[in-house]
Amino acid sequence: MSFVKLPVLRHGLMIRHEEIFLDAVMAERIKRIRKLMEDQGVGGLIAYSNAIQNGPVCYLTNYPCFGLGRRGAVALGLEEGPFLFTAEPARNLPRVRLFTTCDLEKGRQFLSAACDRVKNLSKNSPVGLVGFENLPLALAKDSEKELEGLKKKDLSRDFSAVLAAKDEGSLKATKRARELAEEGIRLLKDQVASGKDLWQLAAQVDYRLRLLGCEDTNILLGCADKGRVRPGYPARIKPRSGDTVVAYAAVQYARHWGVAGYTFSVGSANKDLDASLARLGEVQKSLAPKVKTGMTLGEIEVVIAEAGRQAGLMFAPDLPLGTGVGFDLSEYPSSAEDEVRTGMVLQVVLASDVDQSFTAMIVDMLQVTHKGGVWLGRSGN
């Protein structure tokens, strides 16, 4: 469960970002995945991505599956590759190569071509499959035919865990995305009383963030004078003085998502809301040292809920407490049993409906280290 994005074509600035994804970063990623392959006894690996689960192919190639191609596959051997195959029109390939870190292979049936390549790479040893659970039926049938006779091993979960434990490049991109998300919240707060409706406010924030070079945004807003409010698809409602606005801004920069969320009142200050936000802030501070490498997501959720209880706050049961964020708005860890590792970043949503009067919410990102968590936002540490 997460604040998921409609995977429309994202048409912000799309570049290679060499300063973030150094050749050494990409080489280290390939090394990590080869280590996984060796540990799992596979001689070749094929990963499939689409616009929803963009991570696997993007991790190894920097190719965004949320672009024009929408789908892609990467084949990797223990000594060769990665080889990138996409559904991109062939005439676009020279330009696409400007923002990928490996060459693109030609061929109209991209998945069949990728399967064929991995057969050669694996040299009859088992093949690791990543993201194949997301294949549409027709592609699933094609791949089964192509890989017939080979031993196959599902490596989706293991791959996701490696990818989510962010390297230097991913952490840089994620932190910049988080800064931009905070900028989005600041812009919303500045403009909320400007007479624009929620839809127009979201449009304006999206525009300003695109000028700063982001690839995409996901602005969710809710507004009411009283009662429970949830961030959602921005409605054509104009916030009025005294209203409470719950804002969530997700920003994609250099293929990585950053998120931020906050509640603010329109016009006059709301002391009760300020007090609740201060309590949420205290909960946030208390959480950082308690979240450590090796815990499961379920254990972390218990810790978050308990910290809320101790502060006299019940967290909204319909909102996600914590989930992984990075290449996708929702990635590993996303299930209660998923183990959290160093370098993973969680989206933490602290939201409480206070006395049926308003909803107080803080959304921040928590980087996991073996010593504890580090909030990426300014307020939490």
């Binding site: 469960m1 997460s2 998921v4 994005k5 409609l6 995977p7 429309v8 074509l9 994202r10 048409h11 912000g12 600035l13 799309m14 570049i15 689409n50 616009a51 929803i52 672009g67 024009l68 929408r70 029109p89 062939a90 005439r91 676009n92 020279p94 330009r95 696409v96 400007l98 923002f99 109209r108 659970e133 997301n134 294949l135 549409p136 039926l137 027709a138 699933a140 839809w199 127009q200 979201a202 449009a203 304006q204 999206d206 525009y207 695109r210 000028l211 070079g213 949830r230 961030p231 959602g232 698809y233 409605a235 054509r236 909204a316 049961p317 319909d318 909102l319 929702s330």
Partner: protein
Amino acid sequence: MAIPAGEMESRWARVQEAMARAKLGGLLVFSNQLNSDLVHYVSNYTVLGEKAFCFLPLKGEPVLLISEAWDLERAVRESHLKDVRVIGKNWPQEIASVSRLSEGRLGVAGRENLGRFGIESLEKPMGQESVSATRFLEELATIKSPYELTLIRETAKMADAGFKKALEVAREGLPDFVLGAEMDYVMREMGATDNFQMLAVGKDNTGMLLPWGKKIERGDLLLFEITPANGSVTYTVQLCRTAIFGEPPSRLLRDKFAVLIEALEESLAVIRPGARISEVARIQNEIIGRAGYPEYCRPPYMRGRGHGFGLGRIDVEEDSTTEFAEGMSLVVHPNQFIPETGYLALGEHIVVTAKGIERLTQTESKIYECGGGGR
């Protein structure tokens, strides 16, 4: 724009009548974020979550099932449905319990996107196999209702405004992604819920792509596929245009563009209910081929000569087997790669009427000049 009373009821009635004819006892519609138009068509709910289902029985109202509890209020508000539920981790059982209301064979629209695991998870608790009903729903959605056409006409105004904005703001040194943001903003302010926009700036364009930081220079061609949507991707309009920055078009460019204009106008002239869709592609390929570029009318340079959007999409290709019908909405575009000029864009969004076509956008079909080079 608020959905008028009776719109969804008449849509359900049309689907239910077709279900009876197709001997379907129930219709389960599935959407994820990649194909949200299916559930939107039967529920008026824009999916903002991992997945959503809508079950339509042979008689009566549908049941909407969404995956994100936090979006429940909006789902109820948008759909006006009495029965809207949140599904959890046991979604296959929950969907199966609703689908058991099917009075016979269950059709699943969007079945292909459930994947093998999803289909098996669903069919096991149901105790029966389902059949794909994606094509079934696509065909019904091809003909737009008067309300849907009103939405599409509104979208056309957004596309016009987006192009006008581009001509206004284009200046030397402006990066392509800023140009895109400016156009996007003006259309979003008008209510566009999405914009599948492609853009190319340069002197050697091979096609449309995402913005990559290219700064506008004198003599650059600016290619646009401005594609705003209005609620659902199904209510998308596409406007394809070419502009030259900072100088008037050369004789060569004008001549080559004239070929595209001829291809567009000649192909639009044959469209009327009953005309073959393939004819549009054939005429365009013939005219462009006659101008000396037959090999560039085939892959990898070109494939389709137009298409619809979202649910009920049609493709304008030489091997299309269907015919035009009143109420279809599509873009017709003789966009073309020409070796001497690079890729050129020209396309009109039309609706098929009883006697021919209605052009939806007001932007004239010609090559434009911007940045001080004229109009």
